[in-house]
């Protein structure tokens, strides 16, 4: 588990009876919403922290109550069933695609908190008596609140909508992707992008080549440096914006370009956009007659980036215990995929 001061919660999973509301729904249809729960949900939501539900209840009855309280749009992938809550919490974590140590679980019953703690020791379990204190916990304080964090819930909801359609779509995946009208924009990071850039370095683990985190100030120096390029990528499609979802730090010293950091938000994992970023850098390096290298720090969770590099014409030239240095074979020129409109903004 990460040290307390570093640990940040990305999603709070709520119990319902005697936690979100006072009373037990199956015994009393007129349960009352707890004001402190409502306020906590809204406060955390404005900070970009997501919410979900793990409750032992009847799904339809509980969902219509949630809807009646006007809270349906706040809960991603609510799990309302009779399974152990640790199963529900784990499923939610997988569906949102975030780390288990970024989850908090609120329940009034010690038994349920213990069951979750026992099965998932990295989850932060909170007694529902403490709901009003939750917004003041350091784990619930993101370092920055960016435009993307404020819209995070809407972006995840748009994802659910896309995935549902993708799963129902019977044709080849490429046809589905083509129907999304995706626009992928790569631009030099501007000052107003830096908070989001720092947030991406802190939040992204799976699709992150080095896991290096950089502060706002460091990123600002790279942005202004002649020896670096800091690129940020955004993606939109017909369902809306995914926001700023990719970041690259490129060191350019004479004829040697080195990718120090390449990361993508997990939400765009199946959109083929990581390769677009690499392809753009390959084109840049080829044009300048530069050698292109990349640093990789393999971890337990970022193997997908290793695969992405290896399948994008990178080969290992140096390996130590924790670090791999790759060099790219720039001879194969690849086109951007037809299903994405790639815009390069200087």
């Amino acid at each position: 588990m990460k040290p307390i001061e570093e640990r940040k919660i990305k999603c709070v999973v709520w119990d319902l009876d005697n936690t979100l509301w006072d009373g037990v729904l199956l015994e009393d249809k007129n349960v009352t919403l707890r004001q402190e729960a409502l306020e906590t949900i809204k406060t955390l939501d404005s900070r970009g922290i997501l919410h979900s539900v793990a409750s032992k209840n009847d799904f339809d009855t509980a969902m219509s109550k949630i809807e009646e309280f006007g809270l349906k749009e706040y809960f991603l992938y609510p799990k309302i069933n009779w399974n152990p809550k640790s199963d529900s919490v784990l499923e939610i974590t997988k569906l949102i695609n975030i780390g288990i140590d970024t989850i908090a679980f609120i329940d009034d019953q010690p038994f349920e908190r213990d069951e979750v703690s026992y099965a998932l020791p990295d989850v932060l379990c909170i007694d529902s008596l403490d709901i009003s204190k939750v917004p003041r916990l350091p784990e619930m304080m993101p370092r920055f609140i960016t435009e993307d964090s404020k819209n995070r819930r809407h972006m995840y909801m748009a994802d659910i909508c896309r995935n549902k359609i993708e799963n129902e779509f019977k044709g080849p995946q490429e046809e589905f992707l083509a129907g999304l009208n995706m626009v992928f924009t790569i631009s030099k990071a501007k000052e107003e992008d830096l908070k989001r850039a720092e947030e991406l370095t802190v939040r992204t683990h799976q699709l992150n080549t080095t896991g290096y985190t950089y502060s706002y100030e460091e990123l600002d120096r790279f942005r202004k440096s002649d020896n670096h390029k800091l690129l940020i990528a955004s993606l939109t499609d017909k369902y809306g914006s995914y926001g700023k979802i990719g970041l690259v730090l490129l060191e350019c010293v004479e004829n040697l370009y080195t990718i120090k950091l390449l990361l993508m938000s997990c939400r765009v994992m199946s959109r083929g956009v990581g390769s677009i970023m690499i392809n753009h850098i390959r084109n840049m390096a080829r044009k300048e007659g530069a050698v292109l290298r990349a640093i990789m720090v393999p971890s337990e969770v970022n193997r997908m980036m290793y695969v992405t590099y290896k399948f994008s014409h990178f080969t290992e030239i140096e390996e130590s215990d924790s670090l791999v240095l790759f060099e790219n074979d720039l001879t194969t020129v690849q086109d951007f995929p037809e299903y994405v409109d790639v815009k390069i903004v200087d």
Binding site: P172, F311, P337
Partner: protein
């Protein structure tokens, strides 16, 4: 496991991704297109799970994964 069994398992797996299209054993899965990281990773995980082999970093090469035939030779070499 016979080479035909390996081939059939790979075909079954790929049929989840490539629908409404007949592909032969040399069909270039990546072609001139950029790969999608998720698909690449799913292929690696499929091979590890289905054939109980470990795909080492040095094995991660397009040449080992680019077609049904390439994947078949790679897997049979590992078994």
């Amino acid at each position: 496991m016979t080479i035909e069994e390996i081939r059939d398992k790979i075909r079954t797996f790929l049929s989840k991704f490539i629908k409404n299209k007949e592909i032969d054993d040399d069909f270039d899965l990546f072609g001139s297109k950029l790969l999608n990281s998720m698909f690449a990773m799913q292929m690696v995980m499929f091979v590890e799970k289905e054939f109980k082999i470990k795909v080492e970093n040095k094995d991660l090469k397009i040449d080992n994964f680019k077609s049904i035939n390439a994947l078949k030779s790679f897997v049979s070499g590992k078994l």
